[in-house]
């Protein structure tokens, strides 16, 4: 086991820069998830750590050693691929032991390790089957088994759950977490699914256009996003962004969303945003769960407004309501018993204690 460090890592294909200078420190035993939309460079970054892609610039260190020019087989890493990449002509046991057999481990130790990994992953009964005879979830387990038996310094996962159906994906997500709790190997995990990222990671790395947007724990990313991209990418349904500006009225700082709607800011927020120029074009970032039905008793910082709902989506435990604020589509989450209906008027409350204010031009969260 080891820590992994990336220093100003760059990857260029001809004239396309896929990864544009990434700095990342992954400590021993940590579970790091790289998340971002397709083409953000997350898979390329993982493949560079694996040694499957050359790096154009910068340094990659595993366990303190620079491994830029070390071939994959000498990096002591194990990788789980999206399509599993199991050897179709080998049995499960042969697949799992392939790496050990190449390194001429004693037969008894190979057997012990394979048995132990199979037990851990609950695939003991499948050990003599060929990959063709396994279901998707079982193949995924075998692919993980192949990684575990090697007892490598680092596990690399490249979108391992993308080929599974939704139910199995949730199940395997929990399995992966359990396995990591047992083996504690440093793990780098790539996914485009922010739910996977949030649920699995010790720390999440949000990537966009070849750069790191933000690194943080799932909670930090959710509650304190650094950029508009992170704020919009993490969380489902996504955060609402409503054009707004600050104004002073009767000695209080107010935020104006439209000609008809303006709310006074809670004192803590007013102190934080008070120095901002009143002319800046700003965005109010507010998550759907902070746009709820208005209760009779309002907490401090909650402000109400009336709107007409366009569409409602009953989800069972909550109902998502969609409406427009001055032409901007907005999503809120209300209680299923709050009487929300398509086309019906409704009084909603916005919790400004949980608001974010963003610069519309730079996308920075202020």
């Amino acid at each position: 086991m080891a820590d992994v460090a990336l220093r100003k890592v760059i990857k260029r294909y001809d004239d396309v820069e896929a990864v544009r200078g990434i700095d990342l420190d992954i400590s021993d035993h940590e579970f790091i998830v790289l998340v971002g939309p397709s083409g953000c460079g997350k898979s390329t970054t993982l493949r560079m750590i694996a040694g499957l892609e050359d790096i154009t610039g910068g340094d990659i260190m595993i366990g303190g050693d620079v491994v830029n020019d070390v071939p994959p087989k000498d990096r002591d890493i194990a990788m789980v691929f999206q399509n599993y990449a199991l050897y179709p002509h080998m049995t499960v046991a042969e697949n799992m032991s392939f790496g050990l057999r190449l390194k001429h481990y004693p037969k008894a130790e190979i057997k012990a390790r394979v048995t132990e990994a199979a037990r851990l992953l609950d695939i003991t009964d499948l050990i003599d089957r060929k990959p063709k005879q396994l279901s998707g979830g079982q193949r995924q387990r075998v692919a993980m088994g192949r990684a575990i038996v090697r007892n490598p310094k680092v596990f690399l996962f490249d979108e391992p759950l993308s080929n599974l159906d939704a139910k199995l994906r949730v199940q395997m997500r929990i399995e992966i977490k359990k396995v990591h709790q047992k083996v504690r190997t440093t793990t780098v995990y790539v996914t485009h699914d922010q739910v996977e990222a949030m649920t699995l990671a010790d720390r999440v790395v949000v990537m966009n256009k070849g750069r790191i947007e933000q690194i943080g724990t799932p909670n930090e990313l959710y509650h304190k996003p650094a950029t508009r991209f992170v704020a919009g990418f993490i969380g489902s349904p996504a955060m609402n962004f409503i054009p707004c500006r600050l104004e002073d009225a009767a000695g209080t700082l107010r935020i104006r969303l439209s000609d008809r709607i303006a709310f006074p800011l809670p004192p803590a927020r007013a102190a934080r945003y008070g120095a901002l120029p009143r002319t800046d074009k700003l965005l109010l970032g507010i998550r759907p769960e902070h746009l709820t039905e208005a209760h009779a008793h309002l907490e401090p910082g909650e402000e109400t407004f009336d709107t007409v709902l366009d569409v409602t989506e009953p989800m069972g435990m909550e109902t998502l309501v969609y409406f427009a604020l001055d032409g901007t589509p907005v999503c809120g989450r209300v209680d299923p018993n709050a009487g929300a209906a398509d086309g019906a008027p409704m009084r909603l409350a916005m919790d400004l204690n949980n608001m974010h204010l963003l610069n519309e031009e730079t996308g920075a969260v202020l």
């Binding site: 994959p72 691929f81 002509h89 790496g99």
Partner: protein, 313 residues
């Protein structure tokens, strides 16, 4: 009510001749019938060009030289006693096995090189490397015949600069056998190349990546990934090539006509010489029939393995 019954009866009567037509149409419309008619031209061709001649040669092989008397297995026992026959058996086996091994080996190696050439360039190389296989062998073999000429050929001229030769390419048993194998390999290797290239392309890259991470070097990747993934293609192309090479006629016929002293004869060329040129058609048929059991054994061995793996894969 009564009207309706009559109406129905008439309808039924009117409908019945239609039903007969429908039956025929049903039979014609069945998938198996359609398939039979679609394959009928091929079945007829095979019957005319393969089955009929095969059985006819079986019949011919039991006649005497003048084709007037039934001699049973007399021609076969006569062949077994002739030294030339056993030499032809030996030479056919040496020729076919050596040529196929080299074709497969060269095809495999070159396929790897071509596989690693990126994009558009690869298409060019593929096209160029296929040329030997595309030229009619009778024509290209004539070119080789000139190259092998003992006194004026490009080969011996080039070798003379190194103080080697002149080599009697087609005049000496060893060199003649070497030459026909060389030409056959030159002609047949592109077929292996193209088959192996297709097989290589069908191996997912991620298997190699997984193997690289598992610690396999390039040789182990070929041995543990490429070869097992290509096993079926290798078996089928080898069998196919073995049959075609074993039954080769044109290269030997043009280069050596079986000489010197019949040492380069294969079954086909010897059967031609005995049957057509020496006018002993029954004996020629007898020689050509000997290819069947030898090739059948090879086919059974190789294809049995293929179907077994087909089941497990």
């Amino acid at each position: 009510m009564a009207d309706v019954v009559v109406e129905q009866g008439r309808l039924a009567r009117v409908a019945s001749p239609h039903r007969k037509g429908a039956n025929l149409r049903n039979v014609l419309g069945r998938k198996s019938t359609v398939a039979f008619f679609l394959t009928l031209p091929l079945i007829l061709l095979i019957f005319l060009l393969v089955l009929y001649p095969a059985f006819y040669s079986l019949y011919l092989a039991t006649l005497n030289k003048a084709m007037t008397k039934f001699v049973g297995l007399g021609n076969f026992t006569f062949l077994f006693k002739r030294e030339t026959f056993w030499m032809v058996v030996k030479q056919s086996c040496i020729f076919a096995v050596t040529a196929v091994i080299f074709k497969a080996l060269i095809g495999f190696i070159v396929a790897h090189f071509v596989h690693n050439i990126p994009g558009k360039k690869q298409r060019k190389w593929r096209g160029m490397l296929l040329v030997p296989w595309v030229i009619p062998p009778a024509m290209s073999t004539l070119a080789w015949l000139w190259l092998f000429d003992p006194s004026y050929s490009a080969f011996n001229y080039t070798l003379s600069f190194f103080g080697v030769g002149p080599i009697p390419w087609l005049g000496n048993t060893f060199w003649a056998r070497f030459s026909i194998i060389l030409v056959n390999v030159w002609y047949g290797a592109p077929f292996f190349l193209i088959m192996y290239l297709a097989a290589l392309k069908s191996v997912p890259d991620q298997l190699y990546e997984a193997a690289a991470i598992d610690g396999a070097n390039w040789w182990q990747r070929i041995w543990f990934i490429t070869l097992p993934m290509m096993r079926n293609i290798i078996a089928i192309t080898t069998l196919f090539s073995l049959i075609v090479t074993f039954a080769n006629f044109d290269i030997v016929r043009i280069l050596t006509s079986g000489g010197p002293l019949d040492t380069t004869h294969l079954f086909a060329t010897w059967a031609f010489q005995v049957g057509i040129q020496s006018s002993d058609i029954p004996l020629g048929a007898c020689v050509s029939l000997f290819m069947v059991p030898i090739l059948a054994v090879a086919a059974i061995f190789i294809l049995r393995d293929v179907s077994k793996r087909g089941n497990e894969a």
